[in-house]
Structure formats: structure tokens, C-alpha cells
């Protein structure tokens, strides 16, 4: 889950965010990171730290989420023991993390409505509703292969297969 130095730094960060020294972080703690408030996806990012409706996250949970963003080491990718669970920063798991940002109701698919909501979050106010809807339609249509009007995880991965996910979703200080 990361080198010792970066774990130590994460721990210090955890302690710094945990203002009342409760030993865990709640939503309010994360909401007080000013920069997240102006991130269009701020809410969803915070939610991803609280899976399954928990209201608090302890340090292992904190690290578990951040571990998704560790840069992928090229050297150990070939020699992994197939029986062990995939490391959290593998491409699949990174994609799964992104998928869950879209898929709020956790039904394993990104419906058109969910896609529209995400698009709305990310776009300025000058775009009209019809434009948003047509862009959403196009997005879903491009990825959707079995024609059910929603994007499943496999379809999602396939549509992004050309992208360098490992590089995009890696934060180098987490090495």
C-alpha cells in the first residue's frame, strides 16, 4: 500500500484533517478542504471515501481509497501471483473507482440519467438543457454496445481502452 514514507505523510495528513482528534474522519472534515468545494466533482469524491453509507472513515479506509491512485510500478506487473487479489492501483480497479463516481445507485450500470447528472456537474451554466441531453445521448450511444441504453462496467472499460488510465489516475506523491 505504499512506501513507508508516504504512509507516514498520509497519516500526518489524516491527523491534520481530523480536527477534533476523533480518530476518524467524517464528511464534514473532508468538506472543509476548501479546494474540494470548488471542484465540480467535490461531493462525489467525498462520497467515495464513505462507501456503503458509512459516516466515518478511519485511517485504513482513507488509505484504501487513496491507494487507487498510486502510480503503477511497471516492474511488478508481470510477476504477480494470480491467486492474490489484484492490487488496488491496477488499471481495472482504477476504472472501477471511476465507474462508481458515475454510478450512484450501484446497479452496475451508468444509466442515461446518471450520465446526464455528471455532465451537468461538469459543464458551465451557458449550456442549455437540450444541448446537454443530446451530448448525453451521444455519449451513451458511443459506449453502449448491447443497446440497453445504459453503460455497463465492461462497456465502460472498453470505451476507454485506448486511454492511458494508469498515468491519468496516478498521483506521484503517493508512490
Amino acid at each position: 500500500l505504499g512506501s513507508r514514507a508516504s504512509l507516514l505523510r498520509l497519516y500526518h495528513r489524516f491527523r491534520a484533517l481530523d480536527r477534533n482528534k476523533k480518530g476518524y474522519l467524517s464528511r464534514v472534515d473532508l468538506q472543509q478542504i476548501g479546494a474540494l468545494a470548488v471542484n465540480p466533482l467535490g461531493e462525489r469524491i467525498i462520497d467515495s471515501f464513505f462507501p456503503d453509507g458509512n459516516l466515518r472513515v478511519d485511517f485504513p479506509g482513507f488509505v484504501r481509497v487513496l491507494a487507487h491512485f498510486r502510480p503503477v510500478d511497471d516492474d511488478d506487473s508481470g510477476m504477480r501471483d494470480p491467486k492474490q487479489p489484484e492490487p488496488l492501483n491496477s488499471r481495472m480497479n482504477k476504472l472501477r473507482f471511476v465507474f462508481q463516481l458515475y454510478d450512484l445507485d450501484r446497479d452496475g450500470k451508468i444509466s442515461r440519467h446518471e450520465m446526464l447528472q455528471v455532465l451537468r456537474l461538469m459543464v458551465g451554466v451557458q449550456v442549455t438543457e437540450e444541448q446537454l441531453e443530446s451530448i448525453t445521448d451521444r455519449t451513451v450511444q458511443e459506449a453502449d454496445e448491447d443497446g440497453d441504453g445504459a453503460v455497463s462496467f465492461l462497456e465502460f472499460t472498453k470505451s476507454l481502452e485506448k486511454m492511458d488510465i494508469e498515468q491519468k489516475m496516478s498521483i506521484r506523491i503517493l508512490k
Binding site: R9, H12, R13, A16, L17, R19, N20, R27, V28, L30, Q31, Q32, I33, G34, A35, L36, A37, V38, N39, P40, L41, G42, E43, R44, I45, F49, G53, L55, R56, L66, V98, L104, S111, R112, H113, V118, L121, M122, V123, G124, V125, E129, I135, D137, R138, T139, V140, Q141, E142, G149, S159, L160, K162, M163, D164, K168, M169, I171, R172, I173
Partner: protein
């Protein structure tokens, strides 16, 4: 002349240029006539005037001599400003070439006009004007806008690179040129070692910040950015120090013999000058921060204090022959943190803008002088010297970059890649600094001064134009982005989402550094320095009024731009229309892509974007406001409907969260220093929430929530203990509390929501037309005012 290059300028700019041309021609004509008939002319005029005065008073007269100097200087500055406007109107230009290019062109143009009209250019730059008036604003601006945290994180590498790099470059270039001069064939044997070394020192003064704007879009990582910035900052100081020491040497030793003692003395002097300057700067910085603590009633003089103290530090250091540049830099860096907290918002803005203005005026003037001396008769062209200068500049910069970074990479946690080093090498663009130093060489000691000036000019022109224009494509090429193929809309959306996600997670991780030293400094700072240097009892009412003002303004804006129409946040379509295969034409796809590119929110710039020539906070501010307002609205909408909140949070947290926004909200630019303070602050103000805190009747919740709007700075601590008043030990109780809140929700939340948007609410309420709400609203507003005053009295 330079006219073909002016093509991108808009036509009205042309017109104004022509007008200016006419003006200066007219003035030069006037001057010619006055100059040619030199002495007796004024007498004749006076005689004429007096003789006329005998008859009648002249109704209309022209006196150009009186205003000549300020008039022409103003015209030049205005011309440069118009050129800048034209430059930015054609929006692709700033990405193509650095703004120094533009300034040089304008300077050359003015020089050509002056030369063409045979005008005697009045203000000639001499040593005192440059060092006393033109240089300090430029250095001050660089020091003030320097981001302190990354600077200190990388300070080892920066000092190593800037200091040693400047020395290596100076001596390397000087020595190699000296060797070249020894070759008899080039006719340069009369240039001795000292002169070559001096030339080397002045030619190695780089100004890489000028090119930063060019590759801003390419994601330059923070340490690289800091390297370039730090180098620009320290480089000027070091080269001026070196220059002065070598000039002193040249004066001392008219002959060629330099004793080792003198060299040692020179080195010791170098160190003392540098360190002493920094020391002076820090002292003056603290003094000015201390004084701004008391200026709350006369905030109009706050910018004055800031500028005067910085300038004073420069002058005081110069009196003692210490490095004024380093002094003013250190003063700006020290002063900035405390002054920003003490000073009112308007003074803060004034300081920033005025600093930019002063520095850009200075630089414009220097470039105009440069243009004037380019187009003139004072050149001496020596092929060998000039070509070898160019070659050696590049070679020695490459050597110093790669050698020094190789060494410093061993000690860094995040070493610089070869790509980064190439960027640093290629950004070695010379600027106004080297020209000024060359121009100010004393002719008595440097018989071949003209050659030096010519060589400097050639190097500057070459680096600014050729390197400046090609560095953009080079960086984009090195950035290795797969932008050659068009991405599908799907991919674009997901890429942007991932960028936002990454930025968000980076924010969660926070800034990392050698936290021990930083923590120690923060503790020291908090315990002692802050108490002395910052104001007690930051007036909260100004923050409240600012917030209210902004909320209202935004609410008005939002209604006008149609955000608040309820259809914007419509309930999910009950029946999802399955669109099936609707064939979209390529133009539709293109237009969609267009919409996306223009309207998707930018990812928050983690890498600080510094533009030397203007301040551009606008787009990110607007974007931040939109996001925040939208979020407030979504949450309010969902709460109003009473169904489960989209992400299942307890409702109360949302209320508090609104309040956390405005903190970041009114001052997005100033947010960063304050966010840093957040993590370090102890809860010194926690008395406030405990006073407000009342467990729970409904009205109790109301009061709590209203009062929490006000103390924004202490808000985060307020948020914690007031986390709705139930013990947080077990999650079960939290759920119970949430349940209780759910029960309470329909009514108090109305009030809660209304209160928070009390000011902006008036316009918003009309939009959503809640008739029944009015009565509910008026009650809480009374309570709001009631709770408002006790807090104000507390002050």
C-alpha cells in the same frame, strides 16, 4: 520596418499608432526648428512674445519644451499599452510568443521613429535612473508574487541552481570569450580578462519567467515551475552583485595584475553582500507587517506603507553597498504573508495591481531604451565576438543545467527528468536586465563598450524571438500528449472527469513537504510572530457584509442568466427515453465537441500560473462561484422536496456545509494562504460556538444555524462542536440524531434554508414563487438580526 509584424493588431490600433507617429513627428519638427536655431531661438521667442505682449496677449501658443520629457515618456508607455491590448485581442498570440517579443518590437518601433525623425531622445537611461527607479519595481513584483510554500520546499535546489548556475555561466562565458579574444585574427586582443568576465556576468542574467506564459497550458509540474521562477528571481540579484564587484575590480586595477587576496576579498564580499541584503529585507518586512497591524482606520495608506517600506529596504541596503535586489525580494516575501492578513480587501487588490503596473511600466521603458539604442549609430559589429557569444551562451547554459541538476537530483525525493532539464535549458531567455547592465558600462573603463552593447542586443533578440517562439511547440512536443487523434465525446468527458478527480484527490492528500521544518516554523510563527504582527480581533462584520454583498450579487446574476429556473434541476425523467440509434451527423458531433471544450469546467490549476504581465483571476473565480452556487441550489432543492438526499447524508451537515463555502467563496484568490492556516490553527475561538450552542428545541437549531453564518473564520471549529449537539461517540447515536433531524426536517429546514440566503433570498424567492414562504421567511429574518447583534456586540 517593423510594420509587417503589426499585422495582427486591430485596425483601430493602427490608427492610434499613426496618430502617435504624427504627434511625435510634429513634436520633432517643432524641436528641430527650435534646436536648429539654438541659442537665439528662445530669445527670439521671448522677444517675439514680449514684443507681442506689448501689443496683445497671444491667444494660442505652443510650448513643447516644458512638457517634453513627461509627454514623451507617457506617449511611449501608452503606445506599449495599446500594443499589449492589440496583442491580447488576437487571442492566439500570447500562446505563440512571449510578451517580451511584443515589447521589444514596440521599443524598436519607437527607436525607429526617433531615429527617423532625428529627434533628440530626452531621457537617456543612466545608472542612477535605472538602479534607483526602474529596477526596484520589477524585482519587487517578482518577489511579491512568488508562491512561498513551493519556494521554500525547493529552496535547496533553487539556491544551488540559481546561485551556482549564474556563477558558472558568468565565469564560463567570460573565460571562453577571453580565450577567443586572444586569437589575433579577430582583432579583439585589447579586451582583457576582467572585461570579458564582466561581460559574461551581465550576459548570463536570464529572465525565463517571460516565457512562462507561453507554455502555461502544458502542465508544467510545480518544482519545475519553481525552478524557473526562483532562477529568475535570484539571477538578477546575483548578476548585479557580480557586476558591481567586477566593476570595482576594474576600477581598482587598471593593470592586469590581480592578487589572490583580492579574489578572496571578492568572494567574501559576494557572500556578505548577498546575505546582508536578505537580512535587511527581512527586517524591513517585519517592520512593515507590524505597522500594517495598526492601519485599520486609515486603510487608504496601506498600499503606501507596503511600497514605501519595500523601497526603503532597497535603498537602505544600497547605502551599505549590500544587494538591494535581494533585500527587496526578501522584504516582499516576508511581508506578504502578514500584510495579506492585516490589510483590507481593497488595499490588497490595490497593492497587487499597482505592483503589476509599476513593474510593467519599468520594463516597458527599459525595452524602449533598448529599441532606441538598437536603431542608432552606436554599434560596433564584430562577427567573431558576437557569434561566439551566442554559441557560448548556449553551451554554458547546457553544461550548467545538466551538471548542476545531475548533482542535485541525487538529493531530491522527486528528481527532475531529462525532459524538465531540457525545458529549463531552453528557457534561458535574456531580458531587460542584461541590456541595462551592458548599457551602463562606464565608457572610460570599457573603450569597446559599443561592441558589448551590440553583442548583448543580438543575444537578447535571438533568445527572445527564436527561443521564445519555439519553446511553446517544444514543450508541447515534449509533453507527449496523444492529442493528434481526435477523441470521441465519450473519451473527452471521461478524461475531464478523471482530471477533476485527480485534482480532488490531490487536494485531499494536501501538500507534502519536509513537514518537520515547516511544522516547527508554523508553530513558531503562530505562537510569536502572528501575535505581534497581525491584528487582533479581525473584524467580522466586514466579512459578513462582504459575504452578503456577494451573495446578493450572485443571486441576481444567476436569475438573469437563468440558472434559477426550476427546470434546470428537474426531477429525473420518469420514463427514460431510449433513444436508440439516432444518427448524428459529423457536424453535430463537432458542435458537441465544441460545446464541451468551451464550457467544461477547467481543472483546478494545481500548478500555479504566474503571468508576468497581467493578473488573470477571473475565469477561475467565475467557475468557482458557479460551482458553489449550483451546489447550494441542488442541495436546497433536494431538501425542499423532502425526499432522501441524493447521497444520503444527514441533513444538518448540509447546512453547515453551506456555511463553509462562503469562506472560500468571497476571496477565492486569498483562499490559499488561509487554507494552509486551517490545518495548523488551534481552536482559539471555540468560545463562540459554545455560547451559541443550545441543545435543541427547534428554535435552538434555528439560532445556531443563523449565528453560524457570521463567524466565518472561526467557522471550522464552530462546525465541530456544534455538530448538532449530540455525542458523537457511537454511530448509532448519530443515526438517532439524524433521525431526529429527519423528523424535524420539513419545518426548521425551511427556516434554516431561508436564513442562510437571507440576503440573496429575496430575489431567489421571487423566482421560485413560494407564497407561503414569505411569512416563514420574515420570522427568521428577525431572529437573524437579533442574533446578529449580540455577536457584533461581542467585539
Amino acid at each position: 520596418m517593423g510594420f509587417p509584424m503589426l499585422v495582427p493588431f486591430s485596425p483601430w490600433c493602427w490608427l492610434l499608432l499613426l496618430v502617435v507617429l504624427k504627434c511625435s513627428e510634429a513634436s520633432s519638427d517643432l524641436n528641430k526648428s527650435t534646436n536648429s536655431t539654438a541659442q537665439h531661438e528662445p530669445n527670439v521667442r521671448f522677444a517675439a512674445a514680449s514684443s507681442e505682449a506689448d501689443e496683445k496677449i497671444s491667444v494660442f501658443a505652443l510650448d513643447y519644451d516644458y512638457v517634453q520629457i513627461p509627454y514623451e515618456v507617457t506617449l511611449w508607455i501608452l503606445l506599449a499599452s495599446l500594443a499589449k491590448i492589440g496583442f491580447h485581442l488576437y487571442h492566439r498570440l500570447p500562446g505563440l510568443m512571449p510578451e517580451s517579443c511584443l515589447l521589444i518590437i514596440v521599443g524598436a518601433l519607437v527607436g525607429a521613429i526617433i531615429f527617423g525623425t532625428d529627434h533628440k531622445s530626452p531621457p537617456v537611461m543612466d545608472s542612477s535612473i535605472y538602479f534607483l527607479y526602474l529596477l526596484p519595481p520589477i524585482v519587487l513584483e517578482g518577489g511579491y508574487f512568488m508562491p512561498t510554500r513551493p519556494f521554500f520546499e525547493n529552496i535547496g535546489s533553487i539556491l544551488w541552481w540559481a546561485g551556482l548556475g549564474a556563477l558558472i555561466n558568468a565565469f564560463g562565458i567570460g573565460l571562453s570569450l577571453y580565450l577567443i579574444c586572444q586569437i589575433k585574427a579577430f582583432g579583439l586582443t585589447d579586451v582583457n580578462l576582467l572585461q570579458n568576465l564582466l561581460f559574461g556576468s551581465l550576459i548570463s542574467a536570464v529572465d525565463p519567467v517571460a516565457v512562462l506564459a507561453v507554455f502555461e497550458e502544458a502542465r508544467v509540474n510545480e518544482p519545475l515551475y519553481m525552478m524557473i521562477f526562483g532562477e529568475a528571481l535570484l539571477n538578477d540579484g546575483i548578476s548585479v552583485v557580480l557586476y558591481n564587484i567586477l566593476i570595482a575590480f576594474t576600477k581598482m586595477h587598471k593593470f592586469e595584475d590581480i592578487e589572490p587576496v583580492d579574489i578572496l576579498a571578492g568572494c567574501a564580499r559576494f557572500i556578505i553582500v548577498g546575505v546582508g541584503g536578505v537580512f535587511f529585507g527581512i527586517i524591513f518586512g517585519f517592520i512593515s507587517a507590524f505597522i500594517t497591524r495598526f492601519t485599520q482606520n486609515i486603510s487608504a495608506i496601506e498600499p503606501l506603507i507596503v511600497f514605501m517600506f519595500s523601497y526603503l529596504s532597497y535603498l537602505a541596503a544600497e547605502t551599505l553597498y549590500l544587494s538591494g535586489i535581494l533585500a527587496i525580494t526578501a522584504c516582499a516575501v516576508t511581508m506578504k504573508k502578514y500584510v495579506e492578513e492585516n490589510v483590507s480587501q481593497t488595499s490588497y487588490t490595490t497593492i497587487k495591481y499597482f505592483m503589476k503596473m509599476l513593474s510593467s511600466v519599468s520594463e516597458t521603458l527599459i525595452f524602449i531604451f533598448m529599441g532606441v539604442s538598437t536603431i542608432g549609430k552606436n554599434h560596433e559589429w564584430n562577427w567573431a565576438f558576437i557569434c561566439f557569444t551566442l554559441v557560448f551562451c548556449q553551451i554554458w547554459r547546457a553544461i550548467s543545467v545538466f551538471a548542476l541538476f545531475y548533482v542535485s537530483n541525487q538529493f531530491r525525493t522527486f528528481p527532475f527528468s531529462i525532459k524538465d532539464q531540457c525545458i529549463i535549458f531552453y528557457s534561458g531567455v535574456r531580458g531587460a536586465g542584461s541590456f541595462s547592465l551592458a548599457f551602463l558600462l562606464p565608457l572610460s573603463l570599457f573603450p569597446r563598450k559599443k561592441m558589448f552593447v551590440t553583442a548583448t542586443l543580438v543575444v537578447i533578440y535571438f533568445t527572445v524571438f527564436i527561443q521564445g517562439i519555439t519553446i511553446g511547440p517544444l514543450v508541447r512536443y515534449l509533453d507527449v500528449r496523444k492529442t493528434n487523434k481526435k477523441e470521441s465525446i465519450n473519451e473527452e468527458l471521461h478524461i475531464r472527469l478523471m482530471d477533476h478527480l485527480k485534482a480532488g484527490i490531490e487536494d485531499v492528500c494536501g501538500q507534502w513537504s519536509h513537514y518537520q521544518v515547516r511544522d516547527k516554523f508554523k508553530k513558531f510563527d503562530h505562537r510569536y510572530l502572528r501575535k505581534i504582527l497581525t491584528r487582533k480581533n479581525q473584524p467580522k462584520s466586514s466579512i459578513v457584509s462582504l459575504y452578503k454583498k456577494l451573495e446578493m450579487k450572485q443571486a441576481i446574476e444567476m436569475v438573469e442568466t437563468g440558472i434559477l429556473s426550476s427546470t434546470a434541476f428537474s426531477v429525473p425523467h420518469q420514463a427514460q427515453r431510449i433513444h436508440g440509434t439516432k444518427r448524428l451527423s459529423p457536424e453535430d458531433v463537432e458542435s458537441m465537441r465544441d460545446i464541451l471544450t468551451h464550457n467544461m469546467y477547467q481543472v483546478r490549476q494545481r500548478t500555479l500560473s504566474y503571468n508576468k504581465y497581467n493578473l488573470k483571476p477571473q475565469t477561475s473565480e467565475k467557475q468557482a462561484k458557479e460551482i458553489l452556487i449550483r451546489r447550494q441550489n441542488t442541495l436546497r432543492e433536494s431538501m425542499r422536496k423532502g425526499h432522501s438526499l441524493p447521497w444520503g447524508k444527514p441533513a444538518g451537515t448540509k447546512n453547515i456545509r453551506y456555511l463553509s463555502f462562503p469562506y472560500g467563496h468571497p476571496q477565492p484568490i486569498r483562499r490559499d494562504p488561509k487554507v494552509a492556516d486551517f490545518t495548523g490553527d488551534d481552536s482559539s475561538d471555540s468560545e463562540l460556538p459554545s455560547i451559541m450552542f443550545k441543545p435543541y428545541p427547534r428554535t435552538g437549531t434555528l439560532k445556531k444555524e443563523t449565528q453560524e453564518i457570521i463567524p466565518m473564520k472561526s467557522f471550522p471549529r464552530g462546525g465541530k462542536p456544534c455538530h448538532f449537539g449530540y455525542p458523537r461517540n457511537t454511530s448509532q447515536e448519530e443515526h438517532v440524531g439524524a433521525g431526529r433531524r429527519e423528523a424535524l426536517r420539513p419545518k426548521p429546514l425551511f427556516h434554516a434554508v431561508d436564513e442562510e440566503f437571507e440576503s440573496g433570498e429575496e430575489s431567489e424567492e421571487e423566482a421560485s414563487a413560494g407564497g407561503s414562504r414569505w411569512s416563514a421567511e420574515h420570522r427568521p429574518s428577525k431572529q437573524y438580526h437579533r442574533s446578529h447583534s449580540p455577536l457584533l456586540q461581542r467585539k
